[in-house]
Amino acid sequence: MTIELEQRVTRVQPRLSLHRILPPVLLAGYGILILSLYLRHVLAWYINPTYIVPTVAAAGVLLALSVVGREDACDDGCTCTTRSPLTYGLLALPLVLGLAVPPHSLAAFSARLRGPEVAGLTVVHGIAVKRVSLSVDTRSFSIEDWAGALSADPNPHDYLGKPVQVTGMVLHDSAGVPPGDVMVMRYLITCCIADARPIGVVVHDPTGALKDNEWVTVTGKMGEQTYQGQAVSVVMPSKVLQVKAGNPYIY
């Protein structure tokens, strides 16, 4: 099997050949896809904001190349690249999907496939460690902060009664959290959403009122519960507010 990607032919293509028109259109298309995501403020739903500047710059370069890099910019009978229709179809696929499918951030249930990292149950590596002492006000702690604190010191007694207020997506995960509890989670993204890591805290929900994928702000206190013969930290909510779906990512 040999992959024949392109074929160089010396014959000059007619002015209105698809081989002349499609490449610059596709190049511009990739630039426009990136710019449209940027202008709709959803580029951060796909990549870590650190990479927004180089990515948008790349979109500008692509638009420029679609003008100056055209095959017919050469008029001395030089080579033109011909590609198969399948190739053009493949190249157009992400453009069609990206421009036609509304921007969408990863759903909570995807976390089940990815293997959630639960604060207090799994040691979450690679995030800032938070130390919690009596004087620290934990009300401003995010899910990531709690994961950092509970990874450094998983002993639930050190957190008993500490105030909690976190916002995230609800996920039932029988494999990951104690029965009668749910996870409130977000995705941690380093580069693009292909490397998204679900990170969550355990929230007590004995009545089963919380539904998967729902966005909630949970207010309450840290408590503890025995799970698989081990004491683990669990948020005992005093108030659960349904909130508007937001950006599920932490970077």
Binding site: T2, L5, A58, G69, C74, H104, E117, H125, T190
Partner: protein, 305 residues
């Protein structure tokens, strides 16, 4: 038929990989196009020693200096091949560049603050695999049987065009044309690779790999498989490997960090634009064997000390 619930997530991951790869791919084809237009074959070849061992030195050196990861390096390796650089040097560059580049090493050091030896192990093993693969495959018969058809032809054909010296502006125009064409060629492969990688992320549960209890052999093979399937960028995969630090021992993480950037769903397709399938298969086999054995040895050393 209803649309599966995974479809929107698949689209997002698919677009996410492509968008993220775009600036790096562009950097790769830009370097390739500039080399193509501004560096003559003779001058480039004078830099590469005749001795096969020594010819690896500039290849690995360039790999270390050039900030291209696995999305950009294929375009550059392809250009070197077209310019007549020996196959051994090009393979060594292709396999080493994603790992030995400064950005990837810095990211590894940042992620593995608690275990600095990871940086040296990763760089060292990548160096060994790249050098061995380059030397072995480079001596395996005639060059025409190793590199993809069309790679050298491009060079031959263009060659008779630059008899007359062109101005810088004309050369830049030619570089722009070259880069545009090469971007689309690489992008079409990236589309296939990231489509499959994204599908595997929304279909296969990761617990297939992490949930099954097993020994070190299983752990290493599982992490190598994960590296192949995930196809995430070599400049950030160290952070990702960390999320498996609680499931897998260090040698398995090392296997992920060396094998993934060299051989992944995303990169194998792109390699086939530069090399014939038999050469790519040889790279895959050599990388599997060396990474697996080295990780196993590292584990043995860990238990002996």
């Amino acid at each position: 038929m209803p649309i599966p619930a995974q479809f929107p997530d698949w689209v997002s991951i698919f677009i996410g990989i492509l968008v993220e790869a775009t600036p790096f791919l562009l950097l790769g084809v830009a370097v390739s196009a500039l080399v193509h237009v501004f560096v003559s074959e003779d001058r480039l070849l004078r830099l590469v020693p005749r001795n096969p061992m020594l010819s690896l030195v500039p290849a690995l050196g360039v790999g270390m200096l050039m900030p291209v990861c696995e999305c950009g390096n294929v375009a550059v390796a392809r250009r070197f091949l077209a310019k007549g650089v020996p196959v051994s040097s090009c393979i060594a560059f292709l396999l080493a560049a994603p790992i030995l580049n400064p950005v990837a090493l810095f990211a590894t050091a940042t992620a593995f603050r608690y275990d600095p030896s990871m940086v040296w192990l990763r760089a060292g093993l990548a160096f060994v695999v790249a050098a061995v693969a380059g030397l072995l495959i480079g001596r395996w018969g005639r060059t025409e049987n190793l590199i993809a058809p069309g790679v050298r032809e491009t060079h031959d054909h263009d060659h008779h065009h630059h008899h007359h010296d062109q101005g810088v502006a004309a050369k830049m125009r030619r570089a722009a044309r070259q880069a545009s064409s090469e971007f689309l060629t690489m992008m079409q492969i990236l589309v296939i690779g990231s489509g499959i990688a994204a599908a595997s992320q929304v279909i296969l549960p990761r617990t297939l790999l992490t949930g099954v209890a097993g020994g070190i052999v299983f752990a290493i093979l599982a992490m190598m498989t994960l590296g192949f399937v995930l196809s995430i960028c070599s400049t950030v995969d160290a952070f990702f490997a960390l999320s498996y630090a609680s499931f897998f021992p260090t040698p398995a993480l090392l296997a992920f960090l060396v094998f993934g950037p060299m051989i992944s769903m995303k990169s194998v397709g792109m390699m086939l634009t530069a090399f014939r399938p038999r050469a790519v298969l040889a790279m895959v086999v050599i990388a599997i064997e060396l990474v697996f054995l080295s990780s196993l040895l590292l584990n043995l050393k860990g238990t002996l000390l």
